[in-house]
Amino acid sequence: MSMEKERIIEIEKQCLSEIRIGVDKTFQQIFIFQWILVISISLWRSPLTWIGETPFINPHLSFSVFFGGLIVFIPIFLIKKNPGTELSMYLVTFCQALFSMMIIHVSGGRIESHFHVFGSLAFLVSYRSYNVIIFSSLLIAIGHLVMGTYSPIDLYGSQDISSWRTVEHVAWIVFEDIFLFSILKNKMLFMKRIAFHQDLTEQTLLRVEDLVIARTAELEESQIKIMEQQQSLMQASKLSSLGEMAAGVAHEINNPLAIIHATTKYMRKKITGDTVERTFVEENLEVIEKTVKRISTIVLGLKNVSRDGDMEISSECKFGDIINDVIGVCEERFRNEQICVTIKDLRENPDQVSRFNRVQLSQVLLNLLGNSFDAIMILEEKWMKIEISEEDHLLIVKVIDSGKTICPEIEKKIFQPFFTSKGIGKGTGLGLSISKGILNRLDGDLYLDKKCKNTCFVIQLPISLTEAA
């Protein structure tokens, strides 16, 4: 037998078992009702029997109470303990047949009470078993045969009954059975169809699940690839930014070097000519020291910005230090283009130390400042503003420049990879999309403030996360 057929049979069995449990439980209530009915009939017909002036409980009533109780409690107990079994089903059938005979008997063989037999058979169809119908019909037939032979008055309410009456009654039961078998056949067919469709649904579900697993694996693989590509692109973008900065940086370092060179030249001249005063030497040495420190700050800033941010573990630092790193790298470039950069820290405690991914945040800021630089370089009014504030446990960093607000067409695409409004060969079009990606990974965000009349990019970072990370 194929797996599918086995499963269909299994579903059918399961379905049948659930139905039979339900029918068993319904019969529990029917039995109680029938028991009360039988007792009520006995009470109504003759509750007492008399010996002279002494009353006794009529044996019919005792029979209804005790025998009815026996019929009720055994199946009810069995159903409660183990519903839906073959035993409970046949026991219910047996007891139902007994109840039929009992109701006929206590009603004095009233012909109307025989309808209980037909009603019972109709109820028993709910078990969806041909055997149960056959078993019940056989029991009723045997009951009719025995009672019809030995006590026809209890069965038909009269003594003068032809033996053919029993045959007629059994024939009517067979007649009902034919209809019941037809109904049963349809029910079974319907159940088979349900089982078939459920099996089909299960198989489809399994196939879909397999497909989902395969697709998820593919997706995960793609995501890894995308991340790798993003990292490569980020690195490329960073190198591109650094390349763009290279001229500025060279100039940045070149100026202090020129100062050192001039100072040493001047000192040498003084040493060879006149007597050198101590204060003169100290003053000039201080200039050289400051200039070297300046070069050192630029180099450190460059080092911080150009590291691989993904490998960087977040460390405790002030957010102001990150700003200083970035400004240190670009300062000279901005100065050459006469761009005024202002930093405004609106936080209650600007020296608050938190955990930040220093490198990644530096890269984001460097990218934003670089974009601003490119945008405002050609303008008459050249300024940049960095505003740091706190709002609902969020660190808000606004990078504003003197440029006008970005037009809606560009605004829609601005965070898309490979989109750039810069000239050919000037930008990769990856800076903003990578920056947004970085901030999203840090549970933060990067967006354009449309309300601002100038160009304003907003960095949003959760403080709790930054503190805990």
Partner: protein, 204 residues
């Protein structure tokens, strides 16, 4: 079907000894109680041995026509069927017949206790006379011990029939007893061989 039957047999054989015992006991208790009820229904009351209507009896019998005397317990519900059967019987009797319906009366019971549905129905039977038998003295004299017992007496005080009119307790149905009474009265038969029939009802 065979498979299911095998399942059932397997289930039954796998039951514990205690469960098997409970199941068997339940089955046999059911059978016994059914048997007891069957005996209760089908066991008739005692027959009277008397052959002639006693002279001492306070219930007078007719000298010129047959007399049908039936004893009733006022509370016997089963006797309602005897009444119904009597009503049918009287419809088929065309010859003169004196009918006396005798209700046992107990001296320590109230009037209301005796005035049952059965008593009211007896009063409504046309052409009948309702009598009271204080403490069942007349019934004892006749040896009548079961409610619904009927006596058919000819003009010579000979009891030609005694027994019940119904086939079982509380059940109607044409019995040979009814047929005999109708035939005997209608044909004014001279048969003196007494006809006996079983009587079902409460003890008087």
């Amino acid at each position: 079907m065979l498979e299911c039957s095998n399942d059932l047999m397997k289930y039954l054989t796998e039951l514990s000894f205690l469960k098997k015992t409970i199941l068997c006991s339940w089955f046999f208790i059911g059978l016994i109680s059914t048997g007891y009820l069957y005996l209760f229904i089908t066991t008739p009351g005692k027959q009277s041995q008397i052959q002639y209507w006693p002279q001492k009896s306070k219930i007078a019998v007719s000298q010129d026509k047959p007399t049908l005397v039936i004893f009733f317990h006022p509370k016997c519900v089963c006797s309602k069927a005897s009444f119904d059967e009597l009503s049918l019987l009287l419809k088929e009797v065309h010859a003169p017949l004196s009918v006396k319906l005798v209700f046992i009366r107990y001296h320590n019971k109230t009037e209301d206790w005796h005035k049952t549905d059965l008593y009211q129905r007896a009063s409504a039977v046309k052409g009948s006379e309702v009598l009271n038998d204080m403490d069942g003295l007349s019934a004892k004299l006749l040896g009548a011990s079961t409610s619904g017992i009927a006596f058919l007496i000819n003009h010579e005080r000979k009891i030609v029939f005694q027994g019940g009119l119904t086939p079982a307790r509380g059940n109607m149905g044409r019995t040979p007893a009814s047929a005999f009474i109708i035939n005997w009265v209608n044909t004014k038969a001279k048969t003196v061989t007494p006809f006996l029939s079983k009587v079902f009802g409460c003890e008087l």
